[in-house]
């Protein structure tokens, strides 16, 4: 398991964040939003 990658934002985090902005999904709880 790559622990370093787990704490920094990845491309998929941006994709999910943009989807939430578009579709109004609630923020995730804790960690990388």
């Amino acid at each position: 398991m790559n622990l370093e990658a787990a704490v920094i934002p990845q491309t998929e985090d941006l994709v999910q964040a943009a989807r939430r902005l578009m579709h109004g999904l609630p923020p995730s709880k804790g960690g990388v939003a």
């Binding site: 370093e4 787990a6 704490v7 934002p9 994709v15 964040a17 943009a18 960690g31 990388v32 939003a33």
Partner: protein, 325 residues
């Protein structure tokens, strides 16, 4: 980030050099090396200071200064002992004496050893003397995680320098910008903290041949979109472009904005983008808590509150030391 340079005596010197036609493919590291070499040829006052930048043949940890000692000699390419506070002070003194030193740290994490010289001396001398002196100092270093270098060699410290009045803060995200912004930094009459990302050195892209500069405080729109504005810092611009490509496949058009410089900060370009998209995502590799993302969101709310269709979001590192397996 309310345009602090505008109130600074002297301001950032950004004499422009128009971008020449024609570009070749160069890596981020090669683009930086070109900028240093061309500026040293153009202006004999430009000199380099740092650990293992000269005699050791590698030219610094990432090879950016390779070959410069042979061309310019040891008066202008100064290897130093392992003493960041000492050789940063050397750089401040050289700048006050009329030279244009470029100080290099192997890792930005080591800037902590020199924070008095950076924040108490370089950043404040012009203000202490009523604007009567120039401090044309550039501090270059690479930062960031993703290479398994451990928690003491992987931090992203742009928020530290952005918070401190008197410093210009630059984070190029492409080879093109690395060369143009470094040239502007070297010609600036105020101290510049120039933050490179260690994972970008091998990234290649078009770089114009010859002289050009990029003005500070002028954001770049890397990809246009109508649905979401994503402001990325440094390497996160590359991640944002990847994400935009994936989102396009599902019909979401994400605009990617690179501020390029955090001081001065181009809040107007970001606000104009939000006026179009109504949504803001900010991303950086530094920890989320008190990161520059919070300041970018604050500026956006002041400037474009009426245009928001959803609460702004951030995507940053967890507030934790970087971990290495």
């Amino acid at each position: 980030m309310s345009a602090p340079q505008a109130a600074q005596p002297g301001g950032a010197g950004t004499p422009g050099a128009a971008e020449p036609a024609g570009a070749r493919t160069r890596s981020y590291a090669q683009a930086l090396a070109e900028a240093l070499r061309e500026e040293m040829r153009r202006d004999p006052a430009v000199m380099l200071i740092g650990e293992d930048i000269g005699v050791w043949g590698g030219g610094g940890v990432f090879g950016v200064t390779r070959g410069l000692l042979d061309e310019f000699g040891s008066d202008r390419v100064r290897d130093t002992p392992i003493s960041e506070a000492g050789f940063t002070g050397l750089g401040v003194g050289a700048a006050l004496a009329g030279l244009r030193p470029v100080v290099e740290y192997m890792y930005i994490d080591f800037a902590m050893l020199a924070m008095d010289q950076i924040c108490n001396q370089a950043a404040k001398i012009r203000w202490l003397l009523g604007g009567d002196v120039d401090v044309p100092l550039v501090i270059r270093a690479q930062q960031g995680a993703g290479r398994g270098n451990g928690p003491q060699h992987s931090q992203s410290l742009e928020a530290w320098f952005t918070h401190n009045p008197g410093l210009i803060v630059v984070l190029p995200s492409s080879p093109h910008d690395a060369k143009g912004l470094l040239k502007t930094a070297i010609r600036s009459n105020d101290p510049v903290v120039f933050l490179e990302h260690k994972l970008l050195y091998s990234v290649s892209g078009p770089v114009p041949e010859g002289d050009y500069t990029i003005p500070f405080g002028q954001a770049a729109i890397l990809r246009e979109g109508k649905d979401v504005t994503c402001v990325g810092i440094s390497i996160m611009c590359q991640k944002a472009l990847e994400a935009a490509e994936l989102l396009a496949a599902e019909g979401i058009e994400m605009e990617v904005v690179d501020p390029r410089t955090l001081v001065p900060y181009d809040r107007h370009t970001v606000a104009r983008s939000i006026a179009k998209t109504g949504r803001l995502l900010v991303t950086h590799q530094a920890p989320e808590r008190a990161g520059v993302g919070a300041e970018i969101v604050a500026c956006a709310l002041e400037d474009a509150f009426d245009y928001f269709d959803a609460p702004p979001r951030g995507s940053a590192a967890r507030t934790s030391p970087s971990r290495t397996t």
